[in-house]
Symmetry: none
């Protein structure tokens, strides 16, 4: 039943499911990061931002970096404590850049998205991001059901907080897309040339190669074979085939 719900999420309920997922930023120092986070959220379809003890808010710098996402800033809920921001949530996931001395169940961003989407149909979900330099305290982490860790270069692991929110929000967007998006054709199938049309093109191409003495009919080698392989790989569209036939005809007329 739950799986069925998730399957139709992309087409029907995706937006509604994301509405039940909030981003919680704890004790953020730089207002520019709050603005950039709002933009990243709105780009991916998230809209609920909670700010726990922000150093500076509201702020012109946040509004500027938010670009067209200043509506999220205007609606942002400012809280005095983390608990206040989490009170109605049924799933809490904390972002963590480093391994902790106390082991906590860990998710990667993709797993985090899957769990969050699944949980969001039955309750509010909070994804919690800590301070720019020191992350979440152990007391804050202890509020979380899971930690989410973004895979990084071990020599330079510390993401900007808005960039981390961008990655987590992107995985949420990918999770509600629906598998149908994966099945999209590379090109418009209706416009593809038929095999009969393609064979006429090969015959025309071969004739031009013989006329120009590039191909010796007595020693054809693998020339046509290689050209067939190339054009078959591309899967010619009708319009492309017409252009190629046009070039061949033009070359023949000029001679």
């Amino acid at each position: 039943m739950k799986i069925r719900l998730i399957e139709v999420a992309g087409s029907l309920y995706g937006g509604a499911m994301l509405n039940n997922i909030r981003i919680v930023m704890v004790n953020t120092s730089h207002p520019g990061n709050i603005g950039a986070a709002a933009r990243a959220m709105k780009n991916m379809g998230l809209q609920s931002l909670y700010l726990v003890e922000p150093k500076v808010f509201p702020s012109a710098e946040a509004t500027s970096r938010a670009s067209g996402a200043d509506d999220l800033l205007a609606q942002a809920v400012v809280c005095e404590t983390l608990d206040e921001a989490l009170v109605d949530c049924t799933l809490v996931v904390g972002a963590s850049a480093r391994l902790r001395s106390i082991a906590w169940p860990q998710l990667d961003p993709r797993e985090c998205a899957a769990k969050s989407i699944a949980a969001s149909s039955n309750g509010a979900v909070a994804l919690v991001f800590g301070r720019e330099h020191s992350g979440l305290t152990n007391a804050e982490l202890s509020r979380c059901h899971y930690l989410v860790n973004i895979p990084t270069n071990p020599d330079y692991p510390s993401l900007n907080i808005a960039a981390a929110i961008q990655v987590i929000a992107y995985e949420l967007r990918m999770a509600i897309r629906g598998d149908a998006a994966l099945a999209k054709p590379d090109s418009d199938e209706e416009s593809l040339a038929t095999m009969g049309e393609v064979e006429q093109f090969y015959a025309h191409l071969e004739a031009v190669m013989v006329e120009s003495e590039f191909l010796d009919p007595a020693k054809p080698k693998f020339l046509m074979h290689r050209l067939r392989r190339l054009y078959n790989r591309a899967r010619l569209e009708k319009q492309e085939l017409n252009i190629l036939r046009g070039i061949l005809t033009a070359v023949q007329k000029r001679r």
Copy 2:
């Protein structure tokens, strides 16, 4: 043998594979975005940054936003044209926020990462990002084998350019984590033509079309654009390119 190599990529050669993947930023307006992009890249283990006609570079703002990734800025390659940045590449993927009038093969960021990792074992890969407000021009897109599109909220689709680079780089990191075995190469990557070689072919093809009066240089329409789309889709091998050049030369001699 090739599959075996890719299987161990996550543990041993992941870094080396990422070294063959460059980020190309075209005509970037805001130096802060260049700095934020460098940080996003280094966080995910990328190190090769190419800047085509940046408005301001180097810049104190870029260095500041790069945080500890200023080494990437110091090593960045500044180019006058996009072709210069792509000349030695065998796979080029352009970031595109919007649907184009002429369809081009599309990837999502995950597919982009799989293809890039697969290709990077045998040649240089370029991921190209356009201007903050207007993206890539049609002429620039026509250099690309694929476009990559980040799924977004349709009501607010325009990502900050450094945020877009963060998402694409994150998927590369995820791809080399261990399930990189999924990234099978499409064709024999070793034998692919470089973009420099392919550009020479396009110039030769265009010359023959003009000489045979198939193409009117005064009214070129979308002819070269459509032909680029066809041949880029096929990803020409060196040997195929030699055959096509041979046909063009033979046709010219006979006239």
